[in-house]
Structures are given as C-alpha cells and as structure tokens.
Symmetry: C2
Subunit: 209 residues, 2 copies
C-alpha cells in the first residue's frame, strides 16, 4: 500500500488539556481520554509492520503543571504500560527514575527492555523523560546517553498543532521528518496515521547527502 | 508591529540545488544565488531588532555531495562571512575545524565571537557543523558542548519545504517553533520572513509547563 514505510515512528500525543477544555471538562481530565487512542494506534502500528515506536508520555518540564494534571498524566502512563504488557510488545520505559515524579509502579519496566507476548514491535514509553538528563548521562555513563537503546526516528507525528519537538529525543530526532496533525490527541483517527504515512512515503530522505 | 518577537532566529536556507535545476543550471550553481538572499535577510533581522540569528551553512553530512557542490557551498560560506565583517555583527563561525572540509579562510573567525562595526546582532554561521561533534565535545570539554556560546533558538525558519531539523543545533532547538517555507531559498522574499514572525507571535510558548 505504501511504497516506503518508516522503520521507527515517534508519537507526540499533544492537546489533551485543550481537548478537555473544549469539552467543558477540567484540563487534567483530558489525559484519561488519551489512553484509548494510544491503544488503537498500537494496533495500527502492528498492522502496518512498523518495527519500533516511541511515545512521549510526560517530561520533567511537564511536572511544572498543577497537581491534578500531574496525577492524571502519570496515571495515564501507568495504565498504558499495563495495557501493553497484556499485548505483544518489547517494552522499554525510559525516564529519570531518580526523581520522585517517576511512578513507582513503572520501576520494574524502567531502563531495560522487557518482552511481552510475542514481542512483534519495540515500544518505548518516555516517562518523566528529560532531554538534558538523557544527554548528560553520557558524561557519567562512559559516553553513552540514557536513550542509547532507542534507534533513530524516521517519522515523528505530533498531534495538537504545535510545530516543535518539545525536547523529544534530540539525538534520535536529528533527521526525523515531522508531521503535524492539527486535531487534539483524544480526537485521534486512523486517517491521521494513514495521512502521515502517505506524506512520509514521498519525503526525500537524503540524510544530508 | 508584532506583539511578540523571537529573541533568536535559526535559518535553514535549503533548496539551492533544486532551485538551480529548476532554472536549468547545474545543481551546484544554486549556492551562489543564496548569498544575496542571506544579506537581505540580515538587514531585515536588524530592522526588526532580532538579537541573535544562526545560519546553517553546511554540515559534515553535506560533504558527501559531489566536489563541485562542496566547493560551491564552501565558497558561499566564505563570501557571507566576508560580507558580514563589512557590516555590523558580532560574528561566530562554528564548526569542526579539525577536518579538511573546514575552509582555511574562516579559521580566524572560528570558535570565538568577533565584533565588527557596531555589533548590533549576534550572528552564528555554522560551517562544517556536525551535531555529533557538537555534543561529543562535552565528553572532552569539561561537560560543555561545542556550541555553548549559542543560545536557545525561539523560531526556526526552514526554506525548501522539508519538515526536519537535519541535525541543526539539537540542544538549542529543543523548544524551537519550526516554520517551513515551501519556496526554495534563492527565491527568498521579505514576505517569507514577515509570515514567519506573524505565525510565531501567536505560538503558545509553554516550555512544557
């Protein structure tokens, strides 16, 4: 169906709070409504044979938000991890576990990849991720960044209309082609993903050459 | 005129080769036609009081291209630097000077900022830049990356339609808002820049909060 597919897709599921406000809810209520889109996208990734995907859960900078929002996005990440362990996934949870913002329930998954079911896809879930922590780990970790087990991103899809990386894996994203969906993440549809793949197949990948 | 201006603007002047082909020229001839747009943009930056700008000259990866193209983009960078030293600019040329691809003529400008005329704007010209070299310098340079004297990018404008960073300053670009102009760089017009500033003033800058 597509003449060229990305090997590794990055996902920035933004717009949960704006979606909630639009629905007349409290901002923090949006995150819960972002879980089911994530699982629908997981099945689409498998269906199209995507080998690796990285989902932007939350970052150190997001911890500046109000407590009800922090609780809500942290709980959503825990729920997504538990849902994935019931499916086929080689799951890596990556983030700064040395900070109290990292959820205890996810410690067993943190920093080393674990295989669930038949594996089928490498899934990286960034939880309390911090680009500065990621890069600076190289200074103490023998030259290796914290995200060393995550490969180069080919296609980065961001929902919610913003045109920036917001600290998403700076090393792996250097040559990522960035596709922005204006709709908010809880309004995810299969067509968004197909449109991104369709756009990506015509990108001229030169890696600077 | 604008309710909020970027402090630091990044410039990716892409599309020179595609422009040349469109004009029936050899690919490498496009770079020469990218010099005058750069100087017009310099005057616009001053006019709008932009405090810092970084221009993507060429990268290590670009050195994979044919020799006539390498000669052409290297010469264009040297000419731009010489033109800027006749104007008001605090100029920093940054790139890996330890490689033969770095032009000898620019060694006097490399790695330390030099003030010309009345200064007025910090201008960073990336010449034989390499994101990996930049980051890895921290391992040998006491924790400091090679681009330590370049500040965070607020607005990144890329000409030529591609939606990616191509290794442009990964640390400084983590929260950059990215504006893509479909036209090729030699077809630069003042309106492109005004459209980018117009878009930027309505971007919601949260830095993750």
């Amino acid at each position: 169906m597509f003449k060229r597919l990305p090997r590794h897709v990055g996902i920035i599921p933004d717009g949960n709070r704006r979606w909630a406000q639009q629905q007349g809810m409290e901002k923090g209520e949006g995150y819960h409504h972002g879980i089911s889109p994530g699982l629908r996208l997981y099945h689409l990734l498998l269906e199209h044979g995507i080998q690796e995907a990285t989902i932007y859960g939350f970052t150190r900078d997001n911890n500046k938000r109000a407590k009800d929002q922090r609780d809500a996005f942290t709980r959503a990440c825990v729920e997504v991890a538990h849902a994935l362990e019931q499916r086929d996934a080689d799951l890596l949870v990556l983030g700064n576990t040395g900070s109290p913002a990292f959820p205890q329930e996810l410690l067993p998954y943190a920093g080393k990849r674990r295989s669930f079911g038949e594996g089928k896809i490498k899934l990286n879930l960034l939880v309390n991720y911090d680009w500065e922590w990621d890069l600076k780990t190289a200074l103490t970790g023998g030259g290796q960044i914290a995200s060393r087990d995550i490969s180069r991103i080919d296609l980065l899809i961001r929902w919610g209309g913003r045109r920036r990386l917001s600290g998403f894996l700076p090393v792996q994203s250097v040559y990522a082609d960035i596709y922005v969906v204006d709709d908010y993440w809880p309004d995810f549809t299969e067509q968004h993903f197909l449109d991104a793949l369709n756009w990506y197949q015509d990108c001229d990948i030169t890696l600077g050459g």
